[in-house]
């Protein structure tokens, strides 16, 4: 068989069939979510599945904003995510520059401090961390979550690995030109490290936006809650309102989808390199 001048073999056909079937299975929950978000709750479980609702209930997308303070949850999450991501990018790339390009006493010891904790599950020390935050009076504040997520070993490590691959001669040349270290970092290193910064942005953004256990432990006041625990609260309060739950879920997914799709080119590279060079 030939299509558009190319020979289609049985193998190609099999590859496409498998790829399409797996993709369909992978995306099925999202399709279900989208479809159910436009249905009346009693129609959600009708079988055979009606993928495109005959009478789309757009009202669901209006009602969710009044049933729970969804806008407030989104505002809280955005605020946290943006602050954490900025702090993470800034402090990690700053520290990583020193670890990659400067010499100073205790450099290896300090770096070892980061490396030693990189595989340490947060769950091992989440309890003492909570007690410490409570001691600082930060329990039930957004600041607690910012402090907890903005200074990670992972960020410093990822940025340092990338800076190591930038030739040191570049920094030396800049020093001869009379730049100080802060200028070298701002004018040479930062512009060169876009792929690493993008990777770190997505990782931090996605983790902070989707974080569940952190906000669940720290934030008990409704007005402070993030979208994930807000959604969870919604699910337990209106457990039978399937249409509304699905609509709220779709809304919670959109920001991550946007960030992911716009930066995914860097992300795939980043996952690959951070994974293997590590």
């Amino acid at each position: 068989m030939r299509i558009a001048g190319r020979k289609i073999t049985a193998k190609t056909l099999a590859v496409y069939t498998i790829a399409i079937v797996i993709t369909a299975v992978m995306l099925m929950p999202f399709a279900w979510m989208l479809s159910a978000s436009l249905k009346l709750s009693r129609d959600v479980f009708v079988f055979p599945i009606e993928w495109i609702p005959s009478e789309p209930q757009w009202r669901n997308y209006v009602d969710i904003w009044t049933k729970i303070p969804l806008a407030l949850f989104i505002y809280n999450t955005s605020k946290l995510t943006i602050i954490v991501t900025l702090l993470q990018l800034l402090t990690s790339s700053f520290a990583a520059y020193a670890f990659a390009k400067l010499n100073f006493p205790y450099k290896n010891t300090l770096f070892l401090g980061y490396i030693a904790t990189i595989a340490m599950p947060w769950q091992v020390y989440m309890v003492p961390q909570f007690l410490l935050m409570r001691e600082f009076g930060l329990n039930n504040t957004h600041l607690a979550l910012i402090c907890l997520q903005a200074f990670t070993a992972f960020g410093v490590f990822l940025m340092r690995q990338f800076y190591m691959s930038i030739p040191t001669e570049l920094c030396e040349a800049a020093r001869i030109d009379g730049m100080n270290e802060y200028q070298i970092w701002a004018k040479i290193m930062l512009p060169l490290s876009k792929p690493a910064l993008s990777t770190l942005t997505i990782f931090t953004f996605v983790t902070t936006w989707n974080d569940f256990l952190g906000p669940m432990i720290y934030l008990t006041k409704t007005e402070l809650k993030t979208i994930q625990i807000g959604l969870r609260m919604f699910i337990s309060q209106y457990s039978a309102e399937y249409g509304l739950i699905m609509a709220a879920s779709v809304v919670a997914l959109i920001p991550v989808l946007v960030v992911f799709l716009s930066l995914q080119r860097f992300f795939v590279e980043g996952v690959a390199s951070s994974g293997l060079k590590g």
């Binding site: 999202f30 520290a95 969870r232 996952v271 994974g275």
Partner: protein
Amino acid sequence: MSISNTATAIDHAPADPRRKVKALSKRRRKIQDALVAYSFIAPNFIGFAVFTLGPIAFAFALAFMHWDGSNAITFAGLDNFWRLFEDKAFIAAFWNTVVYTVVSVPATLLCALGLAILLNQKIFGRDFFRTAMFFPYVASLVAVAVVWNMIFNPEMGPVNMILYTLGLDPKDMPGWAADRHWAMVTVILFGIWKSMGYYMVIYLAGLQGINSELYEAADLDGANSWQKFIYVTVPQLAPTTFFVTVMLTIQSFKVFDQVYMITQGGPGTSTLVLVYHIYNEAFISWDLGYSSMVALVLFFLVLAVTVIQFHRQRED
């Protein structure tokens, strides 16, 4: 260390005044350089030390204490450790974590490898397929877990409806998250679905690192696709596979969120995992010392995997 070394070097230097001035300015220069470097590190390191290193040290100490968070801390010695062996919930959580790991690590790994090989071929729309596979990994867990529970709903969910249309007797129908025999399966399936796209990307990078001459040589020797896979791809991917295994194992040891959202650790203790037990002991029972002891068990499990990884890397 080297600041004090420099100081001793100066003390022993010959009493040539010119040299002394030079050495002093060199020393000053060195201190200045170090201060600049520390100013780069400080913003991150201070936060890291206070909010990560400190609590880690505290966690180790707390495992040997009794504390409910409000009354005085008392020293417990090994009490918390011995309690582990009598705590039925801990034993269940430990074995459930092991089962989760033993099943989901190889299953996710094989799925990820299969996907990577499939999507490493030059097919139309390859980027779309890759993005689609990856998307569950970044999607909000709360949102997708609730969909998962709906799809696997024992009475009305489409999965059981399909099984019913295929002729399965309603009596034999799996109860998924509500069924003590199927709850773990439901959680594992969810985990595989959610994370395999991520490991697929790592495998794709591994596949692209294989020298194509190896395949050409195999072609010359008349190898078929299967032989090429077994004798070229698999051995060449060994470092990637090792890395993926380690990552997946650590991830499986600390599984929590998906269990919390799909089964709440139940029915009974059938899906209770270590982190769930840590959470319960700390934030439900306020038994902070004991909870830290369970956390220590988790730590040693992860440490064991990391040590194995370290030795493997040195051998390579």
